[in-house]
């Protein structure tokens, strides 16, 4: 009985400590949102307390000033283009490379996944020149397409390892029914890849949506093509002392990610864990 009581006290103490830690841990995010609703004077005089006279002025100012709607659309567009291509080309390649295993397909597979070893900074300088030559720079569609090349190695690796678990008999019975390889991929294999496709989508959305350096190199010169993070970066740089606007811009930039995370927490965490274990 005494032991049990001690264990219970221990647990309560642990939960109290954990609660404090969690609150301190998340406070900086909370602080950003709070300051987005304060007038200038209050941000300066008391940056860490709740707003005394909350105002939407910062938010409306920033939404108009940085063209939030357009930036949001740019982000969605670039991310969607990137994801669709990565998922399609990677799963297609992984499917055939797994089903037709021989010396040559093994070589192709190695060639596709090896670039995982090349850090982005190693190629960024010359990438800019290469993309300029084929006119994929300074364009949102071009940026989306570039993500195909960067996302394919990892995605192919994940799809390829998963293909193992889909029995070959399925292909064979489809073949007997007269389905072509393409048909089999579209109507049988791809639907069976659902869980791993989801993992790839979670990982790549988090990466592309928040990516900074590649957009900085490729779409920074025009306001029309900027992404959310990029615009926030420029804007905060200009608002050096006007922290209330900077905070509003930052809050607006991360808000979509946070909302999506709160709604899909379980699935996002699952996808991230699966991706890390497989990758």
């Amino acid at each position: 009985m005494g032991m049990k009581k001690k264990a219970a006290t221990c647990k309560t103490a642990l939960i109290v400590i954990l609660t404090l830690l969690a609150l301190i841990y998340i406070y900086p995010v909370f602080l950003m949102f709070m300051n987005a609703f304060k007038p200038f004077g209050e941000v300066v005089s008391d940056p860490i307390a709740l707003p005394k006279e909350p105002t939407f002025e910062n938010i409306t100012y920033v939404v108009k000033k940085i063209h939030y709607g357009r930036l949001f659309f740019n982000n969605v567009m670039i991310t969607v283009i990137g994801i669709v291509g990565i998922v399609f080309f990677s799963s297609l390649a992984a499917y055939i490379l797994d089903r037709r295993r021989n010396r040559y397909t093994a070589m192709i597979y190695t060639l596709i996944i090896t670039p995982m070893l090349i850090p982005f900074q190693t190629i960024m300088i010359t990438l800019l020149k290469a993309m300029n030559v084929i006119h994929l720079d300074q364009s949102r569609v071009g940026l989306g397409i570039q993500y195909w090349g960067f996302g394919i190695p990892m995605a192919t690796f994940i799809f390829y390892n998963f293909m193992n678990t889909i029995p070959k008999e399925i292909d064979e019975s489809a073949k007997i029914d007269g389905a072509s390889t393409w048909r089999t991929y579209v109507s049988i294999i791809f639907p069976l890849l659902k869980s791993v496709t989801f993992t790839v989508i979670v990982l790549d959305v988090m990466w592309i949506w928040n990516d900074f350096l590649l957009p900085l190199l490729m779409v920074n010169s025009s306001n029309k093509t900027k992404t959310l993070v990029l615009a926030a970066y420029t804007f905060v740089g200009q608002m050096n002392t006007k922290w209330q606007y900077a905070m509003a811009a930052m809050a607006l930039t991360v808000l979509p990610s946070i909302i999506i995370f709160i709604v899909l927490q379980k699935y996002i965490v699952e996808g991230v864990v699966a991706g890390a274990v497989k990758g």
Binding site: N35, I112, G149, V236, V269, V272
Partner: protein, 296 residues
């Protein structure tokens, strides 16, 4: 005979059609720029104006001849990565153990710790820049704790810890969920058996849980290694590499060399050394860890 070879050919054409898009994209975005970097590292080139001038290994000689800060940036990257690996793994493991205890809000707390990870690192850098300056100033007014009055971003010694701390803060949630997944995969009866055998909770943790957590630890250490070596966004937002060059990571140095100083040739040489450095480090760690895992 003729029929099989015809079928084979058809199969090959199919295989190529299915794989060529992936292969071509990877070649255009990664292999070609990589080879170009190799070539430009042997040249002097300012990017646009004139053609690159071939100068052999001159760039590499300059990088290691003492006048360049490049070697210093490698040291910074090593120091940062070590700090990042140790602290993100130790803290994440401790929090993961606490968060796998059964209580009502456990899931909410897990979510809270994960939120910074889904945020853009640039924004994270800005938030902390605000806290280190304005936030700490106000807290100091209230509490008078001396450490709040330090120049956390302006002093070369402190700046390193500030940057590394923010790096850990941003990524912690990721390692927490990986460790939670690992902890939940440990069968309950193994732990019960240890308790029945009279093991204290500390013994259970170090003698049973930790060894069984081997694969998770390997994954987390490897992920934190590669992520640590890549550090860039946070530094750009927090300190821009300063004060002076105190928080210049190698990635930062490559970026500045190429796009601020317009030394594209020199930047490419740095990029190539960075590649070799990352390759050797990751392969070495991978090898050591795979050997360790067999021992367990």
């Amino acid at each position: 005979m003729l029929k099989t070879s015809k079928r084979k050919r058809k199969e090959w054409i199919e295989t190529l059609c299915f794989t060529i898009p992936a292969l071509a994209l990877v070649t255009i975005m990664m292999y070609i720029p990589f080879v170009m970097s190799g070539y430009y590292s042997l040249t002097e080139w300012n990017g646009i104006a004139k053609d690159p001038v071939f100068i052999g290994l001159e760039n590499f000689r300059k990088l290691f001849s003492g006048g360049s800060i490049f070697v210093g940036t490698l040291w910074f990257t090593i120091k940062y990565t070590l700090f990042f690996i140790v602290f993100s793994n130790v803290i994440a493991l401790a929090l993961a153990v606490a968060l796998t205890k059964k209580f009502r809000l456990a899931n909410v707390y897990r979510g809270l710790f994960f939120i910074p990870y889904i945020m853009s690192m640039t924004i994270v850098g800005f938030i902390w820049k605000f806290i280190f300056t304005k936030g700490f100033e106000k807290l100091f007014d209230i509490t008078q704790f001396g450490f709040l009055n330090f120049s956390w971003l302006g002093d070369p010694n402190f700046a390193f810890y500030s940057v590394a701390f923010v790096g850990v803060w941003q990524a912690l949630g990721f390692y927490i969920v990986l460790y939670i997944a690992g902890l939940q995969a440990i069968p309950g009866d193994v732990l019960e058996a240890a308790v029945v055998d009279g093991a204290t909770s500390r013994q259970t943790f170090f003698k049973v849980t930790l060894p069984l957590l081997g694969p998770s630890i390997t994954t987390c250490i490897f992920m934190s290694l590669t992520n640590g070596l890549k550090v860039f966004d946070i530094i750009l937002a927090l300190t821009k590499g300063g004060p002076g060059t105190a928080t210049y990571s190698t990635t930062m140095q490559i970026y500045q060399e190429a796009f601020t100083n317009n030394n594209y040739g020199m930047g490419s040489a740095e990029a190539i050394i960075y590649f070799i450095f990352v390759l050797i480090t990751t392969q070495l760690v991978l090898k050591v860890m795979s050997r360790r895992e067999v021992d367990l």
